[in-house]
Amino acid sequence: MSFLDRSHTVAGPGFSRWLVPPAALCVHLCIGQAYAFSVFNLPMSKLLGITQSTPEDWKLTELGWIFSIAILFLGISSAVFGRWVEEGGPRKAMFTAALCWAGGFFISAIGVYVHNLWLIYLGYGVLGGIALGIGYISPVSTLIKWFPDRPGMATGMAIMGFGGGAFIASPLSVWLMAKFSTATHVGVAETFIVLGVVYLFFMIVGSIIVRVPAPGWKPEGYTPPVVAQKLITKDDVYVYDALKTPQFWLIWWVLCLNVTAGIGVLGQASAMSQEMFPGHITPVAAAGFVGLMSLFNMGGRFFWASTSDFIGRRNTYFVFMVLGFFLYCAVPYTGSVGSVALFVICFLIIISMYGGGFATVPAYLKDMFGTRYVGAIHGLLLTAWSAAGIFGPVLVNYIREYNVTHGVPKAQAYNTTMYIMAGLLVIGFICNLMIKAVHHRFHMKPDHEAERAQAEVAAVSEPAGA
């Protein structure tokens, strides 16, 4: 399997770097299916009863754990396998992610067939979660190395794919289930098998296309800035040394707070819009609103990450925190004046910045810690996402519940939450403000440099064809 080694993925002369973003998208569009997994929840709660749930059928609360386990393992695997991904190269990582992702679907299909939920927890939850973690970080450092002139745009493109994966998976899964379902059968197992095969094919194509640049390669006409920029290092920080820096933890909190604020409203957008505007926003219109939010979530990833190449990473997060603060504070006002249009505009901008936060962070890490271990450091940082995945929905749901049980009208039940979210962004602003350049004592020492040089010599000695 030497074909998978980093040394066999070094680009030959004439290779176009613009082939790397579609390779990354092949992986991210597939693993982005995770956002659409909820389309299976209702059909899987009626596997035995077919038209309605029977007592032996799985409950929605039990099914909800599948996604939670997958996100948990996303955080764990990206942190644990980050260094392996970085050193093994993108092709090996993408190929492994493809096998795990497809394998997760196949095991889950067996789980549905024999009606064993634990097999689905293991398949989609554990194996699929590992694929999510490895697949998510696999193209990041490769893209940064290919696009030193536009790292934000490059990683934004890939991470946009993760947001867009659900757009494909959701209608495709519904269509496949409709095709395979009969009067006595729901068709989930067959859908899992087809999705597994399709995703395996797409992700393997991505792993075949991907290349790493030859050592010392630079884009044509690109000259690295001669004047050192305060917040952009030219040195590398070793993956585990990054954990010892305050910068890592400050960025961790910035990401965690930005995601907490966004994820909380993303999951509750449908219910929130209907409760804040009773009679104005119907369930059908609310579904349309959620769709529009997903589009802004995806578009924001590309827009904000590309913008960060011009205004800087720290300034981009300042925009998220300041603009987000005013928008969250404005939401209760839109409810009180009954302006649906203002409400929708506020949330669309908020959700674009939620996506933008994810997409801008790899370039932020590259600026702080260099390119050598940026993928692995990014992997460690994704634990912030797992934490936010718990904080965000809990904050929104429990505060709403508390308000409703204490007599607050439903239309105003979210006001406190909005102010708390705005408060979180103030903390995020302070954390971002405290981020300074990493102290030079954390930069890689000669022994690490020697290790790197050895790896680069090995890579050059066995170049692959373009």
Binding site: C26, G164, A169, I281, F289, G291, L295, M298
Partner: protein, 40 residues
């Protein structure tokens, strides 16, 4: 020779971007159709 190489790279780029762009565009259109319900 150089022209043939450029054509080959152009073709590879078109194929690679179509491979990911067509499914993504289809998904975006489906989502936009659903999103239009907000304005109905």
């Amino acid at each position: 020779m150089q022209q043939a190489q450029e054509t080959s790279i152009g073709l590879k780029l078109a194929l690679a971007w179509a491979f990911v762009g067509i499914p993504l565009a289809w998904g975006v259109i489906q989502t936009l159709i659903n999103a239009m319900k907000l304005f109905q």
